[in-house]
Amino acid sequence: MLAKRIIPCLDVKDGRTVKGVNFVDLRDAGDPVELAWQYSEQGADELVFLDITATHEKRKTTIELVKAVARQVNIPFTIGGGINELKDAEVLLNAGADKISINSAAVRNPLLIDDLARSFGRQFVVVAVDTRVVEGKNFVYLRGGRDKTEIQTEDWIREAEQRGAGEILLTSMDHDGTKNGFDNTFLKKINNIINIPLIASGGAGQQQHFVDVFQQANVDAALAASVFHYGEILIPELKETLRTNGIVVR
């Protein structure tokens, strides 16, 4: 049986993790490579690195980071942030990234999805979508949830799949940071209209939230950051809880 995936997400800036991390036995909590290795040892199925490095100059540190992760970590990983054209993605592919994730750049230039899928295969292309509810409808937001667009989220996700997205990473900005659970209703709705894997993001606070999102929305994977980084949820225990609830995990 194909297992449901648990994906810790790490924010990195200038080659260092930015959000606080509260692991035992960690020599350097700011070192994304060591963190990534720790997560893979704990049983994470995949990793996402979100690069928030602002300047072009410092992007070189990101490339070095990707290479170091590819050398030392034996599970797949995705890198997102700062990918605006084919060339940006190709550098990351050659550095050993398994997938790249694009967000605002794809909304501004949807053809980027077609180009990336054609050049590197759709399995390489994750389209990340930030969504927020306004007057009962979900709209796509850009720049980490700051800028509203007039595009309805369902329409955009359908289009992204048609253009060649291999996977959708859907973050509910209304749920993100609340620790009240994922937006299971909307995730279920989206999951029913696409035929590519869906990663749920935004709202994880307890183990039960992961049970709920897999049982209610039947998503393929669930992503979280702080609950893992602060050790509030330990991946081996989470996997056990999921297993007890009849959810197939590795």
Binding site: I75, L93, G96, Q123, D220
Partner: protein, 196 residues
């Protein structure tokens, strides 16, 4: 030492990184003479099977590969190349193993590509799966699958259909999953291959 057939079908950084992690020496096979330097061969491959086959033909290595007597491991599309035919580009392939590579679309009700960790059932006597327990998980990313076969399938996997997670015919081995991305179990496969 392992020779990796270098024919330009996808990035091999992850594969060489995995070999480095487990301490297996390797080099590249760029022309026919290079085969002599290695005692076993890996055919990697990501992307389109038809396109990969064309690239392999361009290297001029095909005749030599089919006649190899040393252990050969095809990974992902590299494994599909060992079969006779792929629906991906309706391509004639190496025909080392008389099986076909088929599209998941229309044959399964599930999402395509088959992406993520799936459990496999290896045959007991296949040396590639030594120290791998039944139902171990491996990382898959593929839209085309090799049909399951009593004789040649050495590990079975199920995604609505039962398909070949691994193949063996004499010295030719293939795995549909990515051992270089499959955690410790994947690294064990690479170690097993290096000891065949």
């Amino acid at each position: 030492m392992i020779g990796i057939v270098n024919y330009g079908a996808g990035n091999i950084f992850s594969l060489t990184a995995a070999l480095d992690r487990v301490g297996i020496d390797y080099g590249m096979v760029n022309n026919v003479d290079d085969f002599d330097q290695y005692d076993r061969i890996i055919i990697p491959g990501v992307g389109h099977a038809g396109a990969a086959m064309r690239k392999l033909e361009e290297t001029g290595l095909v005749q030599h590969i089919v006649s190899l007597k040393k252990p050969v491991l095809g990974i992902c599309v590299g494994m599909q190349l060992l079969t006779s035919f792929s629906e991906e580009g309706n391509a004639e392939l190496l025909n080392i193993v008389p099986l076909k590579t088929l599209h998941f679309d229309k044959r399964v009700g599930k999402k395509v590509p088959h992406m993520g960790w799936n459990s496999i059932s290896p045959k007991k006597d296949c040396p590639l799966f030594e120290n791998i327990t039944d139902n171990s998980y491996f990382y898959f990313v593929h839209s085309y699958f090799i049909e399951a076969d009593e004789q040649y399938t050495s590990a079975f996997c199920t995604y609505d259909v039962v398909f070949s997670a691994a193949l063996q015919k004499e010295n030719f081995y293939g795995v549909q999953f990515h051992p270089e991305k499959s955690g410790k179990a994947g690294e064990q496969i690479l170690l097993n291959f290096s000891r065949l």
